[in-house]
Amino acid sequence: MAASTAPEPTVGDSAGTGPNHGLRIFLLWLPLAVAADLLLWFVYGPHMPPGDMSTSAIGQQFDIKVMSVMAAPVMAFVLVYGVYALIVWRHREGDDEDGPPIHGHTRIQTTWIAMTSVIVLCLAAFGTYELAGTGMAGAGGGEGPSPIWKPNGSNYLQVQVIAQQWRFTFRYPQFGGFETTALVLPVNRPVQFNVTSIDVIHSFWAYQLGVKADANPGVNNVAYTTARQLGMFKVECAELCGLWHGAMYDFGRVVSASAFQAWAAATETQLAAYTKMLPPYATTYDPTTVAQLSKAMIAAGITGANGLYYPPNDPVQP
């Protein structure tokens, strides 16, 4: 009977005269959230992965920083709320009653929906602008054979990444099409990676450059970046590709523009005789379409006229 005569409590103030818990939690949370965000942005932010060696890496680092400063206040709120609840709302001896029922609050709901909508729409617009706006340098991921985004101008360096079990090799079509096991890039010049494979599925991952693009046979997967710092970077395969997948890694170098020019010119000359052995530059190397290879196979009598390595009924799965 007592329940039917009791006054209806309101949100945040069960008795109408108690402390304002919402305000308390907010005041505890606010300095913690601000401090966490400042530390994340200014102290840890510059050291966040994948670093700032290239435009793509800088973009990815920025993304992670933004996610961190958005996530930190949420985590701080959960922490503050939990600790506050444990201290203030903990069960006390003799207090066995249920808490007051909470009814809808139109103003809070409207404000919540409006604010989250504004935040999401602003982030979407900001992200779109950053990705496609002028002066940016791509996301570092493979865009497929017909990229929707390209760097400004035409002065970008083309580097073909050819994956094979279990090594990457690199071809420079603007320097006579020489192919080498060394990946050397100039600083401050946009690079177009044309990533492909000549056997199974691989993935070209230059972590410090913020570039990761699948290497699929018969596909030219294009990715862009611009190196901003001199130094070494690691290149590894990020797709399980067989027995020695774990050993399929190497190191590339970012050098000055003049050093790159000298290296490329010298390598082109040094490898000229070997470059003649290679098929003409193409964006993919399907063994069945490399004319010289097909001819050699047929001449050796180890395949049919279709140019396949083995007859149609062979290869078979083990």
Binding site: I162, Q164, Q165, W166, R167, T169, E179, T181, I198, D199, V200, G242, L243, W244, A247, A273, Y274, M277, L278, P279, Y285, P287, Q292, L293, K295, A296, M297, A299, A300, G301, I302, Y309, Y310, D314, P315, V316, Q317, P318
Partner: protein, 222 residues
């Protein structure tokens, strides 16, 4: 209890047969001190088949023991660090063009040169003729040497190797080259880059990815 005994027995069999048993490692230069640059001779052969495994149709390497001079069916061998490794590889297998002709280039040997039947060469163009059977490549030290193959005319003659290990009476090429073993001890994998795994997708399965056949480790020790 019986169930546990059966499980234990099964585990033992799996561990013994599949996880611990493998090809032996042939040790070279065991009397040579590391980091002296001393020459260590390693002799191998690559055969179009083998008669010593459960996969007789798989192409395979063999290594000649320096002590018994017997051919051992393995692709694991040990050399001292910082030594000059002189390789002799007898090639009995026929040709298959390279998928990437870059690997026709000799890389990482002393002088960037290799010898086929005593004749020096710096590259073999597998697209211009039937002349490359396999490669011997150690990516970790940048080594790559194309292995020449007997000519089609030679292969067409009687006496082609049909049982392993092959003998020098069979048509073959003799490939020689030298390289410096790394100064850092460890296991450096080596592989063949010719898609010679017939019967597998793109020719790169089976023997190409099985230690003891066409890939293995060079164990470098101090």
């Amino acid at each position: 209890m019986a169930f546990l005994a059966v499980v234990a027995l099964a585990l033992f069999v799996v561990i013994k047969l599949f996880l611990t048993d493998g090809p032996p490692t042939v040790a070279f230069g065991t009397t040579v001190a590391a980091d002296t640059g001393a020459t260590v001779n390693v002799v191998m052969q690559e055969d179009p088949q083998n008669d010593v495994s459960t996969h007789p149709d798989w192409v395979s390497y063999f290594i000649q023991s320096p002590t018994t001079h017997q051919w051992v069916h393995t692709t694991l061998f040990q050399v001292p660090a910082g030594s000059r490794i002189h390789m002799t590889i007898y090639g009995y297998d026929g040709c298959t063009p390279l998928r990437n002709n870059l690997w026709g280039e000799v890389m990482g040997t002393i002088g960037n040169v290799a010898y086929e039947d005593g004749k020096p060469f710096k590259a073999l163009n597998s697209y211009s003729g039937c002349n490359v059977a396999h490669t011997f490549s150690i990516p970790g030290i940048g080594l790559n040497v194309p292995m020449g193959s007997p000519s089609l005319a030679l292969i067409a003659k009687p006496g082609l190797c049909s049982s392993s290990p092959c003998t020098t009476d069979n048509p073959h090429e003799v490939m020689t080259f030298s390289f410096n073993s790394p100064k850092v001890p460890g296991e450096y994998f080596w592989q063949c880059r010719i898609p010679c795994g017939g019967g597998f997708i793109d020719g790169f399965g089976g023997p190409m990815q099985t230690i003891g056949f066409m890939t293995g480790n060079v164990v470098v020790v101090n």
